[in-house]
C-alpha cells in the first residue's frame, strides 16, 4: 500500500482518479489545519484558510509537472494563503478619517506646512520603529512582529508608543518655531 502523498498517488490524483484525489485532499485538510492553527492560533478564520488552500491545490493540481515535488506544491499553497490573510487583516486606508474630530484652530491648515509635518514625522522614526510600522502595514500582529524581529511584544509596542511621543514633541517644537517666526520675535 502506498502512502497518500506518494508520487504515484499524486500522479493518479492529477490524472483524474477521484479516489486518489479525495484521499489526497482529505489528508491535506488535516495538515493545512494544523499549519494554520500553528501560525495564527485557533481562530475562526482557519476554516476559510483551509478551504482556500485546498481550492488552490485542487484547481492547480493538473498543472503540477513533478508529482515527486508535491510537498513544495502544497507548502506554497499554504504560504500564499497565509500571506493573503496577513495582508487582509487591517482596515483599508480610507478608514483613517474622523469627520467628528475638532479642527485644531491654532494649526495652520496650509498643505505645504502639513507636508513638512509629515516629512518631519517620518524623520522622527527610528529605523526600528519604521520597520515595526512597515511590518504592521504588511498585516502582521505586534506579537508576530516581535517574533520576526526577535524581541518581545512589549518592546515592540513600546517602540510604537515612543515613536508617537517623539512625533508630538517634534511637532510641538515646530509649532513653536512657526509661531515665533510669524510673530517676528526671538525663540526663548
Amino acid at each position: 500500500m502506498a502512502h497518500v502523498f506518494d508520487p504515484e498517488v499524486v500522479e493518479r490524483a492529477r490524472s483524474g482518479d477521484e479516489r486518489a484525489r479525495d484521499a489526497l485532499l482529505a489528508r491535506l485538510e488535516t495538515l493545512f489545519r494544523r499549519f494554520f492553527v500553528s501560525r495564527i492560533g485557533a481562530r475562526e478564520e482557519v476554516d476559510d484558510l483551509v478551504q482556500n488552500a485546498l481550492l488552490r491545490v485542487h484547481s492547480s493540481l493538473t498543472a503540477l509537472q513533478r508529482p515527486d515535488r508535491f510537498k513544495a506544491f502544497a507548502m506554497k499553497a499554504a504560504v500564499f494563503e497565509l500571506q493573503d490573510f496577513y495582508r487582509g487583516r487591517y482596515s483599508s486606508r480610507e478608514a483613517r478619517f474622523d469627520p467628528d474630530l475638532p479642527t485644531p484652530g491654532s494649526v495652520d491648515p496650509d498643505p505645504a506646512a502639513a507636508r513638512i509635518d509629515v516629512e518631519r514625522a517620518l524623520e522622527t522614526l527610528t529605523p526600528k520603529a519604521r520597520q515595526i510600522l512597515e511590518l504592521r502595514e504588511m498585516g502582521y500582529l505586534y506579537k508576530e512582529i516581535a517574533e520576526i524581529v526577535d524581541t518581545t511584544e512589549a518592546a515592540v509596542k513600546m517602540q510604537v508608543k515612543r515613536a508617537f511621543e517623539r512625533l508630538r514633541h517634534v511637532l510641538g517644537v515646530l509649532a513653536l518655531f512657526a509661531s515665533a517666526t510669524i510673530a517676528g520675535g526671538v525663540i526663548l
Binding site: M1, A2, H3, V4, F5, D6, E8, V9, R19, R27, L31, R34, F35, S38, Q65, R69, K71, A72, A74, M75, K76, A78, V79, R87, R93, A95, R96, F97, D98, P102, P104, S106, V107, A114, D117, V118, L125, P127, Q131, L133, E134, L135, E137, Y142, A146, E147, I148, V149, T151, T152, E153, A154, K157, M158, V160, K161, F164, L167, R168, L171
Partner: protein, 392 residues
C-alpha cells in the same frame, strides 16, 4: 473592525499599544480640543499613509517576494517560477535595500515554510490501496532532530584549569512565543530527559520541562521553559539561551541561566558569559565562573557576585564542584550516601572540577574521582570507602 474613538480611527496601530488609562487620557484631551494632540494624530495618520504608499511602490509583486523567500530551498520553485524570479531579482533586491522590513518579512515567510515542512515530516503516513509501496518524500534527518538519548557517564577532571564545557541552566519561566523552525523536546512529568544536539552539546531536561532549539550555520539558539542543565561544546557558532527577561551569550566556554517570571538569574560554572537585558540589549554585564547575576523582568543586569555552585544547582539532582578539594567532595558524597569515605593527605587537598549525578551509585562516583586523580578507591575496614594515596 469597529472603530470606537478618534485614536482608533486615525491611528489604530497606536491605539493597540495604549493601555486603558493612556487611551482614556488621550480621548479626554481630544474631546477638550487639545490642538497639539489632534495635530499629532492627524500627522501620524498622514505619515502612516505615506509609509503605506512608499511600501506599495517599493514592494515587488507579492508572488515574487514569496518566491524569493522560498528560493533558498532547493527544488521548491518550478522552472517557470524560477525564471520569472530571475528576471526581477534586481528590482526585488533594490526594494529590500530600501526597506529592511522586507528582509524581516522574508524571514517570516521562511518561518512559515519551515513550520509547514516540520508538520509534513511529522505526519502519520496513511495508505491508499492498490499502489506500490513507494518511499515518502522526506527531508534528510538532521543531527539536531535525533531523538533524545541517554548518557550514563559522569566526568571529573583535575585542577582548576578544566577544559570540559558545562552550562548550568535553571529556568522556571513560561516559554517564549512559539518558535518556527525550532525542534521541541518535552520531558514528561516525573522523568528527566536528555537531548543530544547535533553539535555534540546536550541538554538534561528536568521533569515537566520543555526546550526548543535550533542549530544552523549562524548560531545555536535555545529557548527553555522549566529547568535544564546544558553541556555545551564549543565551536565557531555562538550558543545563546533566551529567557523572558534576558539573553545569555557564551563568550568563554560555559554559562548558566535561571529564569523566573519576575527575574532571570545567571549562575556561571566555567568561563565567561555576557548577560544582556531583553528590554534594553545595550545593558550588559560580564559574569565570570563561580559568579551569579540577576536581571529583573524589564530591568538591567545586576553586578555579579560569588556563589556556591552546588547549592545553587541542587535542584538538578547533581553536584557541581569547581576546584573543590577531594576531601570536601568525599565528605559531601559520603554524607549523601550514608557511608564513610576516607581520603589520605595529601590527596585530600587535590582540587577537582566536575559534575556528578547524586543518585548514581557511590562506587561509580568515587571511581570517577579516583581515575581523574590517577589513583584508586576500595572498601575500608569499616564498610565505607578509602582512597589510596598516590604511590600506594
Amino acid at each position: 473592525m469597529k472603530h470606537d474613538s478618534p485614536i482608533d480611527r486615525l491611528a489604530p496601530e497606536l491605539n493597540e499599544v495604549l493601555d486603558a488609562g493612556e487611551r482614556s487620557d488621550l480621548d479626554t484631551a481630544i474631546e477638550q480640543g487639545d490642538p497639539s494632540l489632534i495635530h499629532a494624530l492627524q500627522t501620524w495618520a498622514a505619515a502612516s499613509d505615506q509609509i503605506s504608499l512608499e511600501l506599495s511602490a517599493a514592494m515587488p509583486l507579492r508572488d515574487l517576494l514569496v518566491h524569493y523567500a522560498l528560493a533558498d530551498s532547493p527544488s521548491v520553485l518550478t522552472l517557470d517560477e524560477a525564471q520569472k524570479l530571475s528576471s526581477s531579482i534586481d528590482e526585488i533586491e533594490a526594494a529590500i535595500q530600501r526597506h529592511p522590513s522586507l528582509e524581516a518579512e522574508l524571514s517570516r515567510i521562511r518561518a512559515d515554510r519551515d513550520a509547514f515542512e516540520a508538520l509534513w515530516d511529522d505526519r502519520e503516513p496513511e495508505a491508499v490501496n492498490g499502489a506500490s509501496n513507494l518511499r515518502d518524500e522526506s527531508r534528510p534527518a538532521r543531527a539536531a532532530d535525533r531523538l533524545p538519548t541517554k548518557r550514563s557517564t559522569r566526568w571529573a577532571w583535575r585542577g582548576a584549569a578544566a577544559v570540559a564545557i558545562m552550562l548550568f541552566v535553571l529556568a522556571a519561566a513560561l516559554l517564549l512565543q512559539r518558535d518556527a523552525g525550532f525542534v521541541e523536546v518535552r520531558a514528561a512529568a516525573g522523568e528527566s530527559e536528555r537531548v543530544e544536539l547535533g553539535d555534540g552539546s546536550s541538554i538534561l531536561l528536568a521533569s515537566g520541562s520543555t526546550v526548543r532549539y535550533r542549530l544552523d550555520a549562524v548560531d545555536r539558539r535555545v529557548r527553555l521553559a522549566g529547568q535544564a542543565v546544558f553541556d555545551v561544546r564549543q565551536d565557531d557558532r555562538q550558543f545563546v539561551v533566551e529567557t523572558e527577561a534576558a539573553t545569555v551569550t557564551v563568550v568563554g566556554t560555559t554559562f548558566g541561566v535561571i529564569a523566573e517570571p519576575t527575574e532571570t538569574l545567571v549562575t556561571l560554572a566555567e568561563g565567561t558569559v555576557e548577560l544582556a537585558s531583553r528590554v534594553d540589549p545595550s545593558q550588559t554585564v560580564r559574569v565570570e565562573a563561580g559568579q551569579q547575576s540577576r536581571v529583573p523582568a524589564g530591568g538591567v543586569p545586576e553586578a555579579p557576585s560569588a556563589v556556591n555552585l552546588s547549592e545553587e544547582l541542587a535542584w538538578s539532582g547533581m553536584w557541581y564542584f569547581r576546584a573543590e578539594t577531594l576531601g570536601r567532595i568525599a565528605q559531601i558524597v559520603g554524607d549523601h550516601h550514608g557511608v564513610s569515605v576516607e581520603v589520605p593527605e595529601p590527596l585530600a587537598g587535590e582540587r577537582v572540577t566536575g559534575a556528578f549525578d547524586r543518585e548514581q551509585p557511590v562506587e561509580q562516583t568515587l571511581q570517577t574521582l579516583a581515575s581523574a586523580l590517577g589513583t584508586s578507591v576500595g572498601r575500608g575496614s569499616d564498610g565505607g570507602y578509602r582512597f589510596e594515596a598516590s604511590g600506594e
